[in-house]
């Protein structure tokens, strides 16, 4: 079985400061890892993914995430937060092979304060 944990319901950060949204995963095999963002009253939007290759993945809007196999983590980061980054962020995982669907975490609400 595959699962994702996002240990923080809410993350607050001041504008201009670095931000981190945490994610750990559990999967019996090599993982595909994703981050999605949801703005109010909208569907989820793809931010970035890790499938293979470099452990540091760069995505949309200046976000990046680091795959750490030993810690089974895939934390989302941004060097300098913007107020417009305030949204709900979801980590997701699925097995590297096969047609298994994505499993999502419960989400972390990011609030960036001006």
């Amino acid at each position: 079985a595959q699962s994702v944990a996002q240990p923080e319901d809410q993350v607050n950060v001041a504008e201009g400061n670095p931000l981190t949204v945490k994610c750990t995963y559990s999967v019996s095999g090599n993982p595909y890892l994703f981050w999605y963002v949801q703005y109010p009253n909208r569907g989820l939007q793809f931010l970035l993914k890790y499938i293979t290759g470099d452990n540091l993945v760069k995505g949309s809007y200046g976000f990046e995430a680091e795959f750490n196999k030993s810690q089974t983590s895939f934390h989302l980061k941004k060097p300098s937060a913007l107020v417009s980054d305030s949204a709900l962020y979801f980590c997701a995982v699925r097995l590297y092979s096969g047609n298994t669907p994505l499993v999502f975490g419960k989400g972390t609400r990011l609030s960036v304060i001006a």
């Binding site: 319901d9 569907g43 989820l44 993914k49 499938i51 047609n99 669907p101 994505l102 419960k106």
Partner: protein, 113 residues
Amino acid sequence: NAGVTQTPKFRILKIGQSMTLQCTQDMNHNYMYWYRQDPGMGLKLIYYSVGAGITDKGEVPNGYNVSRSTTEDFPLRLELAAPSQTSVYFCASRGTRTNEKLFFGSGTQLSVL
């Protein structure tokens, strides 16, 4: 290019009523999914399909049915609506050439009273 389109956007049902949530995509994607989103619970997979004529249960399929007669359409049927089905429903799709990226519709907010 419309992407993934869901209708309706909002609906209120009485207990025991039935309805169909429509989902259509114009990207020729093979894979389609239905998720429900409850506050603080993330997204739970209801049903999914890997191609026309093929459907499979997800994590929370009870009380729902789906069909996939065409590549474009993946309707979700609620029979005998219950208050526990009050949620926001999202349809999503991906193709074999989208490199794993899911495309989501804008959602259907359903209340069962």
